[in-house]
Amino acid sequence: MSALPVIALWLGALALNTWLSGFDTRATRLAVALIFGATILILWEMIVRIYAIPPVILPAPSQIGASFAANTAILWTDFVQTILKGALTGWLIGALAAVLTAIVIDRSPFLQRGLLPIGNFVAALPIVGIAPILVMWFGFDWQSKAAVVVVMVFFPILVNMVAGLAATDPMQRDLMATWAAPYGASLWKLRLPAAMPFLFNGLKITTTLALIGAIVAEFFGSPTKGMGFRSSTAVGRLDLPLVWGEILVAAIAGSLFYGIVALIEKKVTFWHPSQRRQRG
């Protein structure tokens, strides 16, 4: 009989959401998503308590929250080490290098035809695999994590940026030519702005890649801090609530990172059709 309240709650939330979704306004859309998330959390908590699932298998959300609150100092050090130092530095360097390379490639059709297929190909390969090599080369500290992130984010951004620089139509380029615009001016005033939507597409894709690269690289050696290091050692000590605390940090950091990039995109490419409010 203990399954009864679980099923009742689930059906109740489902009915509420079905009813709410009929209105389809901005507020109800938000409410529906929030109710869905809250329902899952409550169901999770209920199931763990009712069936007395040991925390080693699945800690309840309340336990995770308690562990998160109790370990804020540790989590903060790990956050600084992995996300701020490793992922963010690597992402910035990688993005900058990719944009500059794309501009160089853009001037040479020969390089474009040669490098792009290879770039596309490399972007699909399991690049995380180079982590052990880069850890060997750059040492255990965050520099090697940043190096892994640089390589991981480089190709997706490069491919997007090259496509973006080629995205102007012949009419626009002809117009620049009739105005006798030098290369620099046509790059700065026409091609770079036109490439921005593509660039931001690449930047958004690579936000999670950056976190993944930095965390996975820590499995191959790390100083005694960092999110990857902490979660693998905490698993060893069966301190699962702490691991889930790290996951929570990763989730929050990942969402924030993505959100900030998306926000900047909105400011930079406000003119693009995809940014205008549309009804689906």
Partner: protein, 299 residues
């Protein structure tokens, strides 16, 4: 007409030549880098043995080290060949065996992820409540670096007595479901109002609308997503092998290579994984062409 042009048709040379040039440049840079990065060690050894190295000796020695900082391309190729053809397939040193362990988990995870992605997409397209509640969280789920969860997923499954293929497959599935979901939702929504109205005026049921219109028009999107998803599944499997102390699979090969400083082993495993990914993506591409051709959708 050159021979290449006769073999591959006109224009093939123009397409292949730039790629070959870039590849050649990469190999050349790789050799130079190998000499440069390994030279410190070789020179230290020579200084210790009180011998003077000529440039020729230096180059020869840097390219034949047992544990180089950067193995030369031919060393990696040798390592790959040794791992693929030089061992019995059942041997623990065989890359074919390790590759198979990784491949089986990848394919299982890919199948689970694709099925979940398609089912969710069908639900989202047909049910507004599901669209509004699931979609935002599916998007949010991708900002979580799942690979951070990999060690835990494996421990959790192990504590329930499930080891081997399934835990790795779950990670692969998690990574591959999202591209499929997004592509499929987009694909199922491609039919425009005109086409849907036409179906409506023919008095087609929702089921008929789905099978005859929505599903066929979503296939190009599906295949584009599948290519992304299978590469992601492979990455998920390899990373799933890293932290759990697995002894088989390409990920385990990478990890043990990094423990014992066997650089050639790391590079061979890396290239094996890359080749596997390339083959898988290519297979999906072939499947795509076949299916779209059969359905008259090929461009």
């Amino acid at each position: 007409m050159t021979e290449a042009a006769i073999l591959f048709g006109p224009g093939a040379l123009g397409r292949v030549l730039p790629i070959l040039t870039v590849l050649l440049a990469i190999v050349a840079i790789w050799y130079l880098a190998a000499v440069w990065m390994n030279s410190t060690w070789v020179q230290d050894q020579a200084a210790r043995a009180d011998t003077v190295l000529t440039t020729g000796d230096l180059v020869r020695q840097t390219l034949t080290l047992e544990r180089p900082v950067l193995p030369a391309p031919h060393q990696v190729a040798m390592g790959l060949w040794e791992g693929v053809a030089g061992q019995k397939i059942t041997s623990k040193r065989s890359l074919v065996w390790h590759g198979w362990v990784t491949l089986s988990a990848t394919l299982a995870g890919f199948a689970i992820g694709t099925a979940a992605g398609i089912l969710l997409a069908v639900g989202i397209v047909h049910n507004r409540a599901m669209d509004q509640s699931v979609m935002p969280w599916a998007v949010a789920s991708q900002t979580v670096p799942i690979l951070a969860i990999a060690p835990m997923v494996i421990v959790v499954f192990a504590s329930m007595g499930v080891t081997g293929l399934l835990p790795k497959a779950m990670i692969a599935a998690w990574l591959s479901f999202f591209p499929v979901l997004v592509g499929m939702v987009k694909g199922l929504r491609t039919p425009d109002a005109m086409q849907l109205d036409l179906m409506h005026s023919w008095n087609a049921s929702r089921r008929q609308q789905f099978w005859r219109l929505r599903l066929p028009s979503s296939l190009p999107y599906l295949f584009a997503s599948l290519k992304v998803a299978i590469a992601a599944a492979l990455v998920g499997t390899i990373v799933g092998e890293l932290p759990a102390g697995a002894t088989s699979g390409l990920g385990a090969r990478l990890l043990s290579g990094s423990y014992y400083g066997q650089t050639v082993q790391i590079w061979s495993a890396l290239f094996a994984a890359a080749i596997l990914a390339a083959i898988l993506v290519m297979l999906i591409g072939v499947l795509e062409r076949l299916v779209l051709h059969r359905m008259g959708l090929a461009r």
